[in-house]
Every structure is written in C-alpha cells, then in structure tokens.
C-alpha cells in the first residue's frame, strides 16, 4: 500500500487556503514534525482547527508568528499571547468553541451526522447566535459538524497498513480528527509490521489513515 512518505512530501499536498485539523492539547500530542515542515513550506491563509495554537514560537505558534494562519477554531487560545495580539491586530480570525462541543463536533463530522444538540453553553455569550431548542424540557443549542481538508495527527505507533495507537494523554483530539478530514496524515514515533498491534488495542483503524510520516523524519 505504501502509506509512508516524508514530512516534506506530506506538506506538498497542502495548498494555501486549506482547512487543516491539527491534533494535540497544547504541544502534547501535536504532530510537531509536520508542523515544522509546514513552517518550512510556502503555504499561507490557513484555517486551523486545533484546541490551541501552540505556544509563542513553538508548535502551531510558529505558524502564527509567520502569519500563515488566517482563521483558528479551537477552545482556548489565551495561553499564547501572540495569538491574542494577532487577533487584536486583526491579522487572525478566531472562533471559540467549548472543548467538549468541539471534540463532539469533529466526531460528528467524521461520523456523517448533520449536527447535534448539546446543553453546554446554553444561555451564555457563546450561544448568542446559535439555535436554541427545548427537548424533553431541557434547553440545548445546535452544533454543526466540523470537517476539514486535511488532518495532521500524532500517534505513538503505526503498523504498515496505518492502524494507530496513541500514548497516554497525547491521544486527546487525534482519534476524532483522523475520521473527519479528506486527507489524514499521521505522524508517528515508530512503524511496525502489520499484525504487530493487537486487533483489540488499535484505536484508529487503518481505513482512516491516508499517509504516515515518521517523527523527526524529513
């Protein structure tokens, strides 16, 4: 099947203006080699869907500093002051979604749903422009699914088919993002032969993974 490519080959698939999901909770579980390769490329005007935008000059923070990010969708951007500044300078558009709503919306995108109702954010500033509906006596807001052109994810280990397992709390958004993009590129620390990961342990089955790159590889 030959899913293994270099980080350079991977980012060549990405055009300016693409909508890209990037795994990770801060730097933990973020595909840093792929992000570095993006930083070395020419792409710009990116729409990034990720819980955060890294730290100043680290992870996705590099792309922010390079002004390659046009819009960001995530749950918490305050931890990177350069994101706050880029927003204030109107260089960066930001959409804040509660973390649970965001992870569920990405799952819904990958699962072919048209949207769902969540009780989270009802009556708050975040729900101001959202459809509210009472179901069985309780208030909910409607959330659309989130999808993307690309997902750049980080796993611990892949087999040659593309089955993935993750490491500890570095799992976070990666398994959902693997389901919700047209092209999924997984950065991994190790590649083993098919059959070397137990069928019971596989978290992301290979049908979700289009390409594999090795961490630190180029």
């Amino acid at each position: 099947m030959g899913k293994l490519i270099t980080c350079e080959e991977a980012v060549k698939k990405i055009d300016s203006g693409s909508r890209i999901m990037v795994g990770g909770f801060g730097l933990v579980g973020c595909p840093l080699s792929l992000v570095d390769a993006l930083a070395d490329s020419e792409v710009k005007d990116l729409e990034i869907i990720s819980n955060n935008l890294g730290e100043p000059g680290r992870g996705l923070g590099v792309l922010v500093r390079q002004k390659r990010v046009k819009k960001a969708i995530g749950s918490y951007f305050t931890s990177n002051p350069e994101v706050v500044k880029a927003f204030q300078d109107k260089e960066l558009e930001v959409e804040v979604v509660p973390q649970g709503t965001m992870s569920e919306a990405i799952r819904a995108g990958g699962a072919g749903l048209g949207g769902f109702y969540t009780p989270v954010s009802v009556g708050t500033k975040i729900a101001e422009n959202k459809e509210e509906r009472i179901l069985n006596g309780k208030k909910y807001v409607f959330q659309e699914p989130i999808k993307a052109d690309f997902a750049l994810i980080k796993a611990k280990k892949a087999d040659t088919l593309g089955n993935l397992i993750y490491n500890k709390s570095a799992r976070n958004f990666n398994p959902m993002m693997a389901t919700a993009a047209d092209t999924v590129i997984a950065e991994v620390d190790e590649i083993v032969e098919s059959g070397q990961i137990s069928p019971e342990e596989i978290v992301t089955p290979h049908l979700y993974v289009d390409f594999i790159v090795l961490s630190g590889g180029n």
Binding site: F25, V28, P98, Q99, I106, V120, T124, S169
Partner: protein, 220 residues
C-alpha cells in the same frame, strides 16, 4: 496552614468514597493533597485521563502525560486513557460525580463566571462550560474577595456567566454557602470568622442557617 490549603482541605471533606472528581486550575488543584485517607476517589482530567496521580519528580516527567492545566502528572493503578470526545461525553453525560472549580464571580443565584472578562473578546473557554453543565455536583473554591477587597459573591455578575446552572456549594476562606432554589444559604463560618465579617464582605443577599444564628454551628 496557608489559607488556600485551608479552602482545599475543607472542599476535600465533601468527597465520598468512589467519587469521580474533576479539579479545576488554582485552589481546586490543591484539593488532591487533602483527600481523606479513609476514602478512595478517582481524579478525572478532561484531556483524557481517569485516575490522575501526584505530580512526578522532575526526572520522572513524561511529556505525554499532563493534566488539563498542561502540568505534568502521574497516573494511579487502574487508570485509563481516552480521547477528548469520550472524555467530554463522560462529563456532559453526568458521569463525573463532583467538579471543584475556581471562579471570578458568583451571583446571588449561585451561577458562576469563570471564563471571560466583560468588554473583551473571548479567546478561550476550554472545558469550563462542559464541566459546569455536566457534573452531578459542582463545588466552588475561591477567596471570598478579590485582591482589591471586593466581594466575589455578588448580586449580579459583572462578568459573563459560564452556565445557567447554579453550583451546589461555595467554599471560601471565610465561609461555606449552600446554594438552594431560593438562593444562597450561609451554613458555616471559617474558624475565627464572625458572621458580621461575612455579612460585610458578601455583596449578594444570603440566608443564614439556624445553626449559625444560634451559635451552635461547629466548624468541621
């Protein structure tokens, strides 16, 4: 004892054997140090861990193992890892027994504000709304007043609220309030604190438990 640890210790006394507990950033994090030895509780971290353990020594830090505050942690025996959607399904679905959260303000109905500042653009919410909406019981731990001496327990919040859902219990350095349908009820005074001081430093109206009026209230 440091006053923040006093608040954390008081909050820890609310926990029951078998509870699934999510601790917010700040004073709530300190609760982990005060869990009574005769009970076993399980710490849930919304980034995908059930069974969070103590902070590791520097040489045992694992970059792939952090809590929701992005600080290094360990895990205890019987812990498990899961993805963010599964983690928030636990929270929203009512499977977390107690969340202990910090706040900016609490209003007279017991609704809290802990995510945004008025007039400024909102650039972060994280999991605050999910935890407040989904947890079976929510306890707030906070200093009673701001650094400027203003009451954090106010009639109407000047900050945007985090949820329409009221919290269940408010624990400060001065007092403990229970939140009921009709508003706040002062149920306990911190050691050495007078009712008068709490009344002066609390902007929101509150009812006073009989035990305090009668002077029979005993600090736990």
């Amino acid at each position: 004892m440091n006053v923040k640890h006093y608040i954390a210790e008081r909050a820890a006394k609310e926990l029951k054997d078998g509870d699934i507990v999510n601790l917010g950033i700040g004073i709530p994090t300190l609760v982990a140090d005060h869990i009574p030895e005769n009970i076993q509780v399980f710490l849930h971290s919304e980034n995908g861990i059930l069974g969070v353990g103590p902070t590791p020594e520097q040489e045992h830090v694992d970059k792939d193992l952090v809590n929701a505050g992005k600080l290094p942690v360990t895990v205890v025996e019987g812990s498990s890892f899961f993805d963010s959607a599964s983690s928030f399904a636990m929270i929203r679905g009512g499977h977390v027994t107690v969340s202990i959260l910090g706040v900016l303000q609490i209003d007279e109905k017991g609704r809290i504000a802990n995510w945004a500042v008025p007039g400024k653009s909102v650039l972060g919410v994280g999991g605050a709304m999910d935890l407040l909406e989904g947890s079976k019981k929510v306890i707030v731990t906070t200093m009673h007043t701001t650094d400027k001496g203003e009451s954090k327990i106010v009639k109407e919040s000047t900050y945007p609220i985090t949820s329409e859902r009221a919290v269940d219990l408010i624990i400060t350095d001065l007092a403990v309030f229970s939140v009921k349908q009709d508003g706040l009820h002062l149920i306990e005074l911190a050691p050495g604190i007078s009712l008068k001081e709490v009344q002066e430093k609390t902007e929101a109206p509150f009812q006073i438990a009989d035990s305090i009026i009668n002077g029979t209230e005993v600090t736990v």
